[in-house]
């Protein structure tokens, strides 16, 4: 590792994982932490507990803002453990000179999202720092959820499972990139930022046999699947053609040399479900507007344990790798 922190270490990929394991896990080591789940399961399996900090530029983007993101992000981590979001905290670090009106807009969109999740903010903290000490506003939220279904875990994916994705991939990452760089496309490219609890609630109500669930945030779908493949020691085979990608996202990827499966999502999740249930899961998900493009994308084998393989429509295959480094546009 380097002597100083660099941006690549926050990318959700290999460098990020290395930083976390060598510094944080090294010193904080304990059984719960080492499970590496989206949310920690505590209190004898009754509660899920998680935290996340949010910094995004621009603060207001197509399809959401930092406020909506800060509630969705944390609540989704709880939902992914089969837990219903309940109590949350909200800590804000805001830069001197920030517009009060903007702050209020952000808080109002937090409130709206809390309602969707049925959660409430029960304590909080506000710090104002001198100009230049932070980039406009940083928000941290912590959430506690009540586990509705136990045993969801990224280390128990097996050959009995089928892999499902809830919607088109890469939309948040592509939107932020386009907004940040001032790229204007004629199309309606929007972040997928959304709360997933209502979808999960329905799946649980239908008694779906869910093995693992994870929202594909930083590092995208590739990061989730690679983690599952490693933690469960299986090979996940993805049919490239079945990955739902919108034309807009595909176009941005073409221009900049990205892969849609490496781009961040904020309201799209991957599921490993017992194969018999897969079709039903897709049908349930598709009944929600935010999961219209849900699809079966792959299966689990032992061809290359610990790896994710992409199968092309013309019969070739390749690794679906974790992103490394900062996402940079390719030059030629």
């Amino acid at each position: 590792m380097n002597k100083t922190i660099n941006l690549a270490q926050g990318n959700g990929g290999e460098e990020n994982a290395e930083l976390i394991s060598k510094i944080f896990y090294q010193h904080f080591k304990n059984d719960i932490l080492e499970k590496c789940e989206d949310a920690a399961i505590i209190d004898g399996g009754r509660l899920a507990f998680t935290t996340d900090s949010f910094t995004v530029s621009p603060l207001f983007f197509d399809g959401g803002d930092i406020g909506k993101l800060s509630i969705c992000g944390t609540c989704n981590d709880l939902a992914m453990m089969g837990a219903k979001p309940a109590y949350m905290t909200c800590a804000v670090i805001v830069e001197e000179g920030f517009e009060i009106a903007d702050l209020e807009t952000i808080v109002v969109s937090m409130k709206k999202e809390l309602e969707i999740n049925g959660a409430i903010i029960v304590c909080g903290d506000t710090k104002v720092v001198p100009r230049g000490s932070v980039d406009k506003i940083f928000i941290n939220t912590t959430g506690i959820g009540v586990v509705q279904k136990e045993g969801i875990s990224s280390s128990s994916v097996s050959q009995a499972d089928t892999i499902v994705i809830s919607n088109q991939i890469g939309r948040h990452g592509a939107t932020i990139f386009a907004n940040r760089e001032g790229m204007k496309f004629s199309s309606a490219l929007q972040s997928d930022c959304t709360s997933l609890w209502p979808l999960v609630e329905k799946l649980l109500a239908e008694d779906i046999a869910i093995t693992a669930m994870r929202d594909a945030t930083r590092g995208g779908v590739a990061a989730v699947l690679n983690e599952w493949a490693k933690q469960s020691n299986v090979c996940i085979e993805v049919n490239e053609e079945s990955l739902p990608v919108s034309d807009e996202v595909r176009g941005i990827c073409e221009i900049l040399g990205f892969e849609a499966y490496n781009l961040a999502n904020e309201g799209t999740f991957v599921l490993a479900v017992k194969s018999d249930d897969a079709k039903k899961v897709v049908d349930i998900l598709q009944s929600f507007e935010e999961a219209h493009h849900a699809a079966i994308i792959g299966q689990v084998t032992h061809q290359y344990d610990g790896r994710v393989i992409l199968l092309s429509a013309w019969g070739s295959k390749r690794f679906m790798d974790l992103p490394t480094g900062e996402l940079l546009p390719r030059i030629c």
Binding site: N6, L7, K184, E254, Y304, W314, G325, I331
Partner: protein, 376 residues
């Protein structure tokens, strides 16, 4: 970029049916080959396409690929990266460059590292964006660390044109542009009987600017077929088919598969602009390959006032730095070895900690093998 239909960029060029039908055609032609053939794809973009779409898995085993030197980031020697690093660390400098370049390690680290140590390093999509940075930072010196083959050179020249015409005083240039055909010729000259390059797939984007004419020498002087190809899997498959057919028909011609954009003459205006500002020299050692006569461009003396190498000559070192001892990039680029033959491939050398040039950019051969696995 108002009403561009982004789909148009790739639609049709990844059609599984078309790819499969080329696979059949190639297989059929290949049975008639008298000996196995080695095709070098010169450009890193093609290496990327071949590995990403698993095209080698679709070919009979008497067709072999040699992955060429055409990745501008990969061939940048450490001395030049150290220049960029040194310039970036100057207090009043903003260093601008393109994409992947900021990841490449020099002797003190990469530009990314420089940035985490306080330097102002930014990457651009288009060199023209430098004008905006210069305008917003009148008290800073903006240095554009220019890299790339014939594809990006005209953009650097166009930026230079604007800087001069608008009399902008705070943009300077560190030029690292290189040219493709000279490197190809060196590799051809260096081949022996067991390791020959039998055909080239020529880079498309370079040829849009320079025209297909720059490859004429290979069929004429060396009897090596060249097919200038686009970057989509259908393009590459069709080009392979065209090459195999040339062999079976006993021809060695210069052909253009990428007719969508490439002409024989290329873009004469861009060529004129390049010639106005640059001259061909042997400026530095290509990483992994070494010195290649006339393979780089240098800013002409009349424009010395814009040349960061001249302005900062007291702090820039020209001492050559050797490549890592275990790295066999040179052999890989000559077709003598494959990434798997390197003892540190995937262990000591990975994209996150590259030891050699082929692992640095995602378009380098080692990086493409690591990333996509070269599964069979």
């Amino acid at each position: 970029m108002s009403c561009l239909e982004l789909k148009d960029l790739y639609d049709g060029f990844r059609d599984p049916k078309v790819i499969k039908s080329f696979q059949k055609l190639i297989a059929l032609e290949a049975t008639k080959l008298l000996k196995p053939i080695n095709i070098m794809e010169v450009c890193g973009g093609h290496t990327h396409t071949i590995m990403k779409y698993g095209l080698t898995q679709l070919l009979p085993n008497n067709i072999n690929f040699i992955h060429g030197p055409g990745c501008p980031v990969c061939i940048m020697p450490k001395e030049r990266i150290d220049h960029a690093y040194t310039l970036a660390m100057q207090d009043d400098v903003i260093l601008l460059t393109l994409g992947d370049m900021i990841k490449v390690p020099g002797s003190h680290g990469s530009l990314q590292d420089a940035r985490s140590r306080g330097a102002d390093v930014r990457y651009l999509y288009s060199p023209m964006d430098a004008l905006k940075v210069a305008e917003e930072n009148p008290d800073k010196k903006i240095i554009f660390f220019a890299i790339g083959f014939e594809t990006t050179t005209p953009m650097t020249a166009a930026l230079m044109d604007s800087v001069i015409k608008r009399n902008i005083k705070n943009i300077f240039f560190h030029i690292n542009h290189v040219t493709v055909p000279e490197a190809m010729e060196l590799l051809v000259e260096g081949r022996d009987d067991t390791h020959c390059i039998d055909a080239f797939i020529g880079p498309a984007h370079v040829s849009v600017i320079s025209g297909a004419k720059i490859y004429e020498i290979f069929p004429k002087k060396y009897h090596i077929p060249v097919v200038v190809s686009g970057f989509e899997p259908v393009d590459v498959m069709e080009s392979i088919y065209m090459i195999v057919k040339q062999f079976n028909e006993g021809r060695s011609d210069l052909e253009v598969q990428y007719k969508r954009l490439v002409s024989y003459e290329g873009n004469l205006k861009a060529q004129g602009l390049i010639h106005h500002y640059f001259e061909k020299v042997d400026l530095f050692k290509w990483r992994g390959i070494g010195r290649i006569p006339n393979s780089a461009l240098r800013l002409r003396d009349e424009f010395a006032a814009l040349n960061a190498e001249v302005i900062y000559k007291n702090i820039l070192s020209y001492e050559e730095i050797n490549n890592h001892k275990l790295c066999i990039c040179g052999d890989i680029l000559r077709g003598l070895a494959k990434p798997h033959d390197c003892t540190v491939f995937g262990t000591a050398c990975k994209p996150t900690s590259p030891l050699g040039s082929c692992m640095i950019s995602s378009e380098g051969a080692c990086a493409a093998y690591y990333k996509y696995g070269n599964l069979l």
